[in-house]
Amino acid sequence: MNGPIRRMASLLFLGFGVLLGALTWFQVLGADGYRSDPRNVRTAINISGKERGLIVTGDGTVLARSNPDPADPQAYLREYPEGPMFAHVVGYTSRLVGDSGLESAYRDELRSRRDLTISDVIAALFGRDLRPENVLVTIDADLQRAAAEALEGNRGAVVALDPSTGAVLAYVSSPSFDPNAFLGAPAVTNRQAVLDDPAEPIRDRAGTELFPPGSTFKTVVAAAAVESGIAGPETAFDDPVVYELPGSTATIGNADGGPCGDGVSVTLQTAFVRSCNTVFAGLSVRIGAGAIGQTATSFGFDRAIEFPWALAESRFPQSELADDPAALAQSGIGERDVRVTPLQMAMVAAAAANEGEVLQPYIVSQVFDADGNAREVSEPRVIGRAMSPATAVVLTQMMERVVTSGTAQQASITGVRVAGKTGTALPEPGQPDVWFIGFAPVDAPQIAIAVLLEDGGPLGESGTGGSVAAPIAGTLMERYLIRGDSG
């Protein structure tokens, strides 16, 4: 009988060998993967009481820090001193409701390494610093604050970029929430309250939500027209009262219901400055979905833009529009099928300011260690060319005229040359999404901006890009430029 006993025993120990193999996978080889799985809340629980790095702006404003817990000498409490002002940028890290924003994207850099995972122990053996690293953001705290105040009480977003580098100067989504409420025990209730708020403060309207761009999209169409040689600023177009959509009896009219110019003919420049739908609808069909789509893609549409969190992809569905000239005409004036994020429209303005080059937007300028040494530094990076420098000059001239004598006169700044374009999209009747995109100063651009307010902002259904978004953009750019000169 000993033979069978030996065989059964061997079989069982073979099984134990398999158990040891499985253990080796779960606890050694694959352990880091299971530890960092987003559904594994242990990491969040472990991090919650531990020291985390700072998130700061260039002027030293602290956006996130860890303070010693008065109740527990070994623990730390996270604090977001600026509260709702930076909520969509900084995000939060909570042991109960997870993490978001930079707190999530830079969780490995911000965490303390004194928790004895294998990779950390090995790193420590090689002399690695186990203290948390810190994140320096590109945001201009003063501009961010001013933008948040300007949007107070409205739903909307402001994104400002440094056109020569791609650095994000302001990233505001309104309304916002207080990330401090997501810390500690009431996190779940508080988060539910934020989720239940009909104004939807949790939504990041600056970068992860899509809106129809309205007439601000005419900058893309105009760039495509000039770039492809189909039209220059002085090219004359027919000036009808309404544009009949191809293959349909429906029509498109201008904002004031009349013709764009004298009713006979109008130049591209005038049509752009007065934001004439009739001209741009027809022009879009003439340029074609392919050429507009190509320009849009080079601005950043229809592709994933690298960012600390997943941005919504702005879209211009060129293959669908190629067979549907009526839809193309409507999309050419920023309605129907075109959807954008405010960040994307700020990139459009920045590209015009930057001689046609599209720069990678970035919001973290560097990661530095506890001793202040830089660990990672962001460098400006060109990710595409939307138009030739010559086209950019033409587009900038037309955009400047929009501010000096067109729809965006309220964005003008005394003593500073400003270029811009307004937009008023009507996805729902009576609830216009009002826009301004632009940059300043024209001769040496320092700031490019996109301002969006839902539902016409404070003016409601009578709000337009020119009357609501343009003045906000003007004020913000002026504030940034004046302070830049004095400081």
Binding site: M8, F13, Q27, V28, A31, D37
Partner: protein, 432 residues
Amino acid sequence: MTRDLQPTLIIGAAALAAFGVSLVNFAAQETVNAQVGLTFGTVLFAFGGVFVATRRFAPEAVPHLLPPIAVIAGFGFVEIFRLNPYRAGLQRWWLLIGAGLATVVLAWISRNGLAALRRYRNIQLLAAIGLLVLPMLPSDGPLPIRGLEVNGSRLWIEIDLYIVQLNFQPGEVAKLLFVIFLASYLADRQPALTGAHRRIGRLTLPEPRQLGPLLLVWLGSLGILVSQRDLGASLLLFLVFVSMLYVATGEGGYLVGGGVLIAIGGVASWQVFDHVQRRVSAWLDPFAAFEDAGYQVAQGIFGMGTGSLSGSGPGLGQPELIPNAITDFVFAAVGEEFGFAGTVAVLGCYALAIATGFGIALRSRDRFNKLLAFGLTFVFALQTFLIIGGVLRVVPLTGIALPFMSYGGSALVGNFMLIALLLAVSHEEASR
């Protein structure tokens, strides 16, 4: 290892458990409290007591069995104490009761001899069956013993002693009776079972008549699965039977036949029962069913992965996130807080104990003793493999207690008696 090392090792195991409890105390920001001393005393008293009993009643017993078991029990106790101090208090009593019953078993066998177990064979079988069906008693009946349904399985009885209510899993004791019965039945019937064969090509098959008992036990196991919804007990019972039949006869055909029957029973129950389907899908991909059936397995894996090499330290992890962390998933809890170091130590202790058990079986000359030692060791080893394998996704999860680690009095009592029987066999064979 000499005999003299045993007390030292048992004291070491008790000290280890006490040290673990003191670390849990520190982790909870408390100073060391009386629990440390109580733990040391309990482990020392329980296993030291069994050791003293072997000196008295089975002096020739193997010395390698008790120390690894004491270490395992210590690890399990620390984790139970860390997760549920109240239950740990109960577990402490069960450790002492189990050790007491082990002593009684050793004393009884020393007086009557192991052969005495063979006298009451049929009564044992009836008692085993009776114990297995006991939980089917109505849960609201007038009797002082009532069936209980826990987590969808009907394995428990509630004994109402008027002063105190006791919950017990009679299946844990039935397992032992079943093994004793099989050992004595197979020891007598071996010639009949090995006699005639039928050959089909290269395959040697037993006579159909001899397959009768195999089918009978198979049906019985399925009966348990259907009536009590207990995958683990059903599988355990059938596998023990098949392997003992194989060892008694040396006929590989029984293993093949048993394998085929398990496959048939498995597929059939997978098709019929929701709870089997849930278990299987949770086994194949626990992360896909994370919100549902796979949650427990996934949390166990997250815990063990987070514990990694050295673990969080007792009291510093989050094993409370794992459902049933003190019973079925105590191994994952140990993995989270003691790390790979702790789980390998535990696995090594089990391997040592099991190897010792098989060694006893191999050295036994008496057929009954041999089969008994093998059967007991196999039950112990298979339970260990099935539940750790379930936690580690090697096999589908079955609700089986991890011997000497999981919280639960019935399992502890049953396993203490199992160890006492093994010690008795080793003593009798050595002193022959």
